[in-house]
Amino acid sequence: MENVEKIANQLLENATMAAGVFNLLDQEQVNKIVENVYKAGFKHRVRLARMAIEETGLGVFEHKVMKNTTATHLVYESIKNVKTVGVLSEDSHTGITEIAQPMGPVFAVIPMTNPTSTVMFKILISLKTRNPVIISAHRRARECSIEAARICYEAALEAGAPENCVQWIEEHSRDLTRACMSDSRMALILATGGTSLVHAAYSSGTPALGVGPGNVPVFIDKSADIPFAVENVLDSKTFDNGTICASEQAIVVEKEIADEVKAAFKAQGGYFLNKEEIKKMGEIAFNKEKGVMTGEVVGQPVQKLAEMAGLEVPEKTTVLLAPLEGVGDEYPLSHEILCPLLAFYVKDNYEEAIKTCIDLNYLGGIGHTASIYANDQKVINDFSDLMNAGRIVVNTPSAHGAVGGIFNTLYTSFTLGCGAGGKNITTENISAVHLINVKRICRRREDIRWFRFDQSKYFDESLSTDEIAEEYNHNY
């Protein structure tokens, strides 16, 4: 490959020039660009979905179309009215005026699981905030990602966006990725990918918004509408063959309702594995040395999974369920595995069930997502308090719910922050609002307490904290 430094330098030189010009555009101009990009991406949603399936070999075509639809249409709906240029807010009482400032060049890392949708999502939120973006595609989704970027770029230019507001890396290279990430001109990295990628982003010296792995536990409470719960779980878990990191990984129920839940899963195509089948599935789905799921099973349909494990399952099986006794490395299927496979736990009582959920949550998924089906508000509140998750989705499919905007009012996003648990800076769904630096004009608004207080008293050690506080707040 041509000298990596030279390529990185050119990309950043182009991007910083674009950033300079972008800074001159007003809200109306920016909105016009974003609208044009969304429309172009939306128009090509089916073709791009087809390209993604053909190139990556994983997922479900119709679901990839829906992902592209979400990434364009729904993301656009969630950001179209957001103010991202000029004065954001003015408060004459506090004297503070907030003004938007772009961050600068954004490096957008694209995962293999949601390539075209993540490209379009990141371009939309970057352009909405006047930040030029450089797309870094996964090597196994290179062509479809670049095609999505090209479509968006042409639409952006057509609407008056600056040249090089969107660029992409032509040939995947770890060295080039590192060079770009650590370039001093790079303002932000949007790191959607595996743990090592996110770690590299945070270690680069450039601010990063990353994601974390999930291991979503689903607690179905006694108060839940069981057929409804199971239907929602299946909708979510089978969506794109389970490639979304926020999809359900384990079902946890109390013994009292276990039979009913099992029957509901079976009625809707669920196949419960026996001990031998669980062992075989564990061998193909989980890499014990690396401690993670194998790449081969990601996004594969049920029949393919069965074939890989040497199992025979009924033709109309929608999902495989693995009844397990415990959580941890001795139970490989208790880990995150992004395919139509669910761990299944039956516990004696509520406390044991919630402890299992906590164990699952902490097995590589802290900060991500947890799911509950219940019609008891106290149960929902208690569960949420105990889970370490950025989003606790209630009575909704976990994958769709976590992405936001469809089943709830979270920002629609393909980059889900996991907070400290995932070594991320936020637990929010990343959107345009996270790509702005907010400047604040701070007008003089004196705190009268400070100015009238006899400050010599701060030097009087004989006065207690309470005495000083009382006088400080006197008549306030």
Binding site: M17, A19, G20, V21, N23, E163
Partner: protein, 104 residues
């Protein structure tokens, strides 16, 4: 809009006007090429060049590339942009070009 060119005390000043978008920049570059084409290479290094942007209200990446290109033809700091609009000055700063050009 054609660029006005003035020479005074060894400094060649180019007065640009209007929007330096892609179209404006292409047109400007034609004028620049004519002037620079008439100067011998070895004399270029010692020349001082000024781009007067007093009447410029917009710059594109194309224009910035032109500034870079001609800055490299002369000795370091011998190309200066003067009378820049405040937002245009900021644009050049964001683009990192203040490390290569002198910007008023």
């Amino acid at each position: 809009m054609p660029i006005e060119v003035k020479e005074e005390a060894g400094v060649i000043r180019f007065d640009f006007e209007g929007r330096m978008d892609t179209l404006g920049s292409n047109s400007a570059e034609q004028d620049l090429k004519k002037v620079f084409g008439a100067i011998e290479e070895d004399k270029l290094q010692d020349m001082k060049i000024v781009f007067n942007l007093e009447k410029v209200d917009f710059v594109s990446s194309s224009f910035m590339r032109i500034c870079l290109k001609y800055a490299k033809k002369v000795a370091k700091n011998n190309l200066e942009l003067i009378n820049t609009d405040l937002k245009i000055k900021k644009t050049f700063k964001i683009a990192g070009l203040d490390k290569i050009l002198k910007i008023d």
